[in-house]
Amino acid sequence: MDALIPQLLNGSAQGALLLLAALGLSLTFGQMGVINMAHGEFLMIGAFSAYLVQQVIAASDLSIPVALPVAFVVAGLFGLLLEVTIIRWMYRRPLDTLLVTVGVGLILQQAALQIFPSQGVPVEKPSWLDGQLTILGYAWPMRQLFTILLAAVCVAALSAWLKYTSFGRRIRATVHNRDLAETTGISTRTIDRLTFFVGSGLAGVAGVAASLIGGTNSQMGAQYIIPAFLVVAAGGIGQLKGTILAAWAVGVALAFFAYWTTGSLAQVLAFILVIVFLQLRPQGLFTVRTRSLA
């Protein structure tokens, strides 16, 4: 089984990208119950932000580290705009939110097609990501390592933010019991906006990572939304550790399926795997059994 190690590492990196794409979704869906189908387009916004940063800072060694926070903020602001203009009216209609954001996604895609060169734009990889790390005879691309590292940093930052800051605590309080949170003086409106900002911002960060792996163009977001949602669902709503494990599992499954079969079949098999899993465990990998979970 000489394929074991390479596909495991490669799958882990694919999982890390999925995790990055799913992280923000996990926050907005898990914590707020909002399914944002434009999440993939926020990812695209992050990737285009990276491109625009590179137009200002030509040296790619520097531009990518700068692009990460910029993409976070730009995508986050788009998310905030979406929340303030549309989502806020629809918290009681989750299924309708899903369809409304489909419309938002369509518009963002078409806008990107018209604003940027239709063939897409190049995002140059920093030279410090050139080369490979040889692990057990497999030349592991540095870029994959970077994706994993980036995902790890985002997970750590997000969980620390949720756990230790007052905002994070308020988010958790709101999630737990919205009415109670309001009566204790928490502005749930502010919390909603902030959660959406961060969730969308994380999509922007994922977009930068995606821009280093594939093309940066108007269509790029579409390929991430369904897998990302499946990851969130399989992990269990609002369960960070579940999302991480599910993303990793799907990534590794994709890598192995692609190795054993073809790239197309791998996608089909991975989807079916998750669907069957969710059939067996509709609540996902992890679940909290309380009565008051909102």
Binding site: Q7, L113, S118, G120, V121, K125, Q144, L254, G263
Partner: protein, 432 residues
């Protein structure tokens, strides 16, 4: 009770009438074997209006959806060519009035819009399409309605239609030259990487046949869906197979992912070069420096030194909707409109049968940016020079190989003994 049931009875009666009417209508329709199925007899008479001082042409490109990234440019270059021709006096003295339609990256839409252009807009000919799937959707419609369709992109060959003119390369003008080039470089092992659709699958089937003849070993074959960018798993397989060359039939944005994965895996043009049949001047910039040093097989490159190329490049750069660079599919689209001009001038008419009759004389030529191309009146393809270019740091191509003469189009590979005659027969039979 009476009022509702009366209404119901009326409805039933109305329904029965309508059903009977439907069946009566159906009774008029031709059945299989009635012999009215032959082309032409069922086609409505052409409604093309040639009385005024304008002539309508249809442009059919995907302006939305996934393929818009490639087809928008083709649409724009068609507009430029139409403007040029109009500035030079038009077609048979009539100004071109074009109807632009959006194929929306949806093959049934291509079929629907073809029918619309021919029967509602009454255009004299349609130009456009990119993917083979879009052409295959258009083909039955133009054949049914006896329209004309000019297709400007290299494709997998094994097709010809009295109603389609192909101004891009067929396999023996792009893939076979690429294989000849590989053989000349002493390549022994080859890996095939393609998008999962008809062109790469067919092209690779042909490549495998020719490779066997050339003594090149195919060490692997991988396909990824068109809309998926991540090639890492597949590139790992390529790296493990260590081929002398990679034959790349990937299309669209997926190519960017492939090149990035290739670069990240430590594969280099020095050791494992790629030859592509879909990366051109338009696509290369989106891949950044990572694609530099690899090869592509085309008929036209912006860097070609021909008499007419500088003017084409200059006009395009000056064109308002320009993308800045010229490429093979753009040039083929440019040719298609001028080829049509030559055809109607030779026929002295916009009539489809007259145009086809003019083509049959095999005298239609055009001084294209890639050189003087000649139309083959039998198979409706054009002769083309084969070129291999190598991508330089400016995302332009340095020409490293050229065919010694223009290659005559041979869509069914009749001149190649390694192509099994029984397959050819089955294909031509099936095509009717």
């Amino acid at each position: 009770m009476s009022s509702t049931s009366k209404r119901l009875r009326k409805l039933v009666a109305a329904g029965a009438t309508v059903t009977t009417a439907a069946l009566a209508l159906a009774g008029c329709g031709a059945r299989a074997g009635d012999d009215t199925a032959g082309a032409g007899s069922s086609a409505a008479a052409s409604c093309v209006d040639t009385s005024g001082d304008t002539i309508k042409l249809g442009f059919l490109n995907s302006l939305t959806g996934g393929m818009a990234i490639s087809e928008k440019t083709v649409s724009n270059v068609l507009h430029m060519a139409a403007d040029e021709i109009n500035a030079g006096g038009g077609l048979l003295g009539k100004k071109i009035e074009y109807v632009q339609e959006d194929g929306a990256t949806d093959w049934p839409t291509f079929a629907e819009k073809t029918e619309k252009l021919l029967t509602q807009d009454c255009v004299a000919a349609i130009f456009g399409g990119w993917t083979s799937s879009s052409r295959k959707a258009v083909k039955p419609v133009v054949e049914k309605l006896n329209g004309l369709f000019f297709y400007p992109v290299q494709y997998e060959g094994l097709e010809s239609s009295p109603n389609i003119y192909y101004t891009g390369a067929t396999t023996n003008q792009q893939i076979i030259p690429a294989m000849d080039f590989l053989a000349s470089k002493g390549v022994k092992t080859l890996f095939l990487a393609g998008s999962d659709y008809v062109f790469p699958r067919t092209a690779n089937a042909i490549i495998k046949l020719y490779a066997a003849k050339l003594g090149i070993k195919i060490v692997g074959e991988e396909y990824v869906p068109l809309d998926k960018d991540d090639w890492t798993s597949q590139v790992a397989k390529i790296a493990a197979a260590k081929p002398d060359f990679i034959f790349n039939t990937i299309n669209g944005s997926s190519n960017v992912g492939f090149i990035k994965a290739y670069y990240d895996a430590g594969l280099t043009p020095a050791k494992t070069p790629i030859i592509s049949v879909s990366i051109a001047e338009e696509e290369a910039p989106a891949m950044g420096h990572e694609v530099t040093g690899n090869y592509a097989s085309w008929n036209y490159f912006q860097s070609l030194k021909t008499a007419t190329n500088p003017k084409f490049i200059q006009s395009w750069k000056a064109y308002p909707k320009s993308s800045g660079v010229t490429s093979d599919p753009m040039e083929a689209a440019y040719i298609s409109l001028y080829l049509y001009k030559a055809l109607v001038e030779a026929a002295g008419s916009f009539d489809v049968n007259a145009v086809n009759a003019a083509a049959k004389k095999n005298t239609i030529t055009f001084d294209a940016p890639e050189g003087k191309v000649t139309l083959d009146g039998e198979n409706h393809h054009i002769s083309k020079p084969g070129h291999i270019g190598r991508i330089n740091a400016d995302n332009q191509f340095d020409i490293v190989w050229a065919s010694d003469k223009f290659i005559e189009p041979d869509p069914y590979l009749e001149g190649y003994d390694w192509f099994p005659a029984d397959i050819r027969k089955q294909l031509t039979d099936a095509a009717g």
